[in-house]
Amino acid sequence: MISNLMKAKNREFFRMQIKSMLKIVSLALLLGFGLATQAEQTAAPAADPKIAKAQQMIDDADKARKKAASVESEWRDTGKMIKMAKEALKKGDSVKAMQLAAKAHKQGVLGYQQAMAQKDQGTPSYLKY
């Protein structure tokens, strides 16, 4: 009788042990997962260097565009290209984003150079004074 009681108590103890172990394990699992997904989020750009590169190229292109605009020489489609590059990046297409940003950057640089080349110009020679 007594031994039976002891056995039942032991079983009860055992069950509780397992329960709390399960709790700890699942907590650990949860934590582990959480940490893992968090790590994935912060590590993502590092994992795909193209995304960071594309973002940098877009920022550079926009700087070049603004520099051309500061000398009244921005080209018509540069802003549109930058916008399209941003959209492509948002959709995860970093290759397309980089292509567009490179094109926009070139336009910005050329627009600025175009203005600088004509900085000191006056009236054209076909006008006779």
């Binding site: 009244e72 018509r76 004509q118 076909y126 006008l127």
Partner: protein
């Protein structure tokens, strides 16, 4: 699009552009500008330039004369007249801002010493509206063209007479900025206004013959068949910037105001004949 680029490339080749930076006065610029066209189109009388491309394109002209028999801009003049006569919410009218109105186009654009800027007619109209608690009108499309049509019509026959006052060096600066704008190549296609409307006036670009710059400001606003309505001078500036793939500037912002100042000065002496009709 390819065709545009091809014809532009051809134009670009036709004639080199050595550019001199020698300083010239507005009077000298005017003489050189108008002489250029006298030499380029010796048979065309000065006043004819107010008719744009039709001064040098006899075939287009026939079409245009037929259109002018039932002027497509007429309803806009009527609308503009009722705008002019309808009091603002505060009871005042445009006449309170422009006592000599409505025939005031010949006074614009002018240098305003107090504001330190070129004042164009559309800008003055919006300043008047705002001073009277009304919303400003949009500068390119819409009702501004009605009132401009009416004022232009009432101002027919006045002479273009832009003044660069000598008592304020900033006026000359604004004129020079407009002039530089006109001769500066812009956009991916690398064209200046002058490349098309001076150097290559009379040449064909796709289905268009390039109109002479002389007289470019006398007839605005203009009814354009392509637009299907009347549009402002700065709308046209916008279109001409865009077609060489340059980013256009703000209508009645500093760049276009100064451009208008210079370009209108170049037509000094020519009579006003707006509103006009064009292809």
């Amino acid at each position: 699009m390819k065709k545009i680029i091809q014809s532009l490339a051809l134009l670009a080749l036709s004639g080199s552009i050595a550019i001199s930076a020698q300083a010239t006065t507005p009077e000298e610029d005017l003489a050189a500008f108008q002489n250029f066209f006298k030499n380029r189109f010796p048979g065309v009388p000065m006043e004819e330039y107010t008719n744009g491309v039709y001064s040098i394109d006899p075939i287009g002209r026939e079409n245009w004369e037929a259109i002018e028999e039932f002027p497509p801009y007429e309803p806009f003049i009527d609308e503009g007249q009722s705008m002019w006569e309808t009091p603002f919410a505060n009871g005042k009218t445009y006449k309170d801002c422009f006592p000599d109105g409505p025939s005031i186009k010949g006074k614009f654009p002018y240098w305003d010493k107090q504001q330190g800027m070129v004042i164009t007619l559309p800008l003055a109209i919006n300043q008047c509206r705002e001073a009277n608690g009304e919303k400003p009108l949009k500068y390119k499309k819409g009702p501004i063209n009605n009132i401009l049509s009416y004022i232009a019509y009432e101002s027919r026959g006045q002479a273009t007479n832009v003044v660069v006052p000598e008592d304020d060096p900033k006026a000359l600066e604004a004129y020079e900025a407009g002039k530089k704008f006109y001769y500066t190549r812009r956009g991916q296609l690398n064209f200046s206004c002058a490349n098309c409307h001076l150097q290559n006036a009379g040449m064909k670009i796709r289905s268009d013959i390039l109109s002479p710059a002389l007289g470019h400001t006398t007839h605005f606003p203009v009814y354009r068949s392509k637009w299907g309505t009347v549009g402002t001078l700065h709308r046209r500036f916008t279109g001409c910037n865009k077609q060489v793939r340059a980013k256009p500037f703000k209508a009645h912002g500093e760049q276009y105001r100064n451009l208008e100042y210079f370009l209108t000065y170049m037509s000094n002496g020519l009579p006003l004949n707006g509103p006009g009709a064009r292809k």
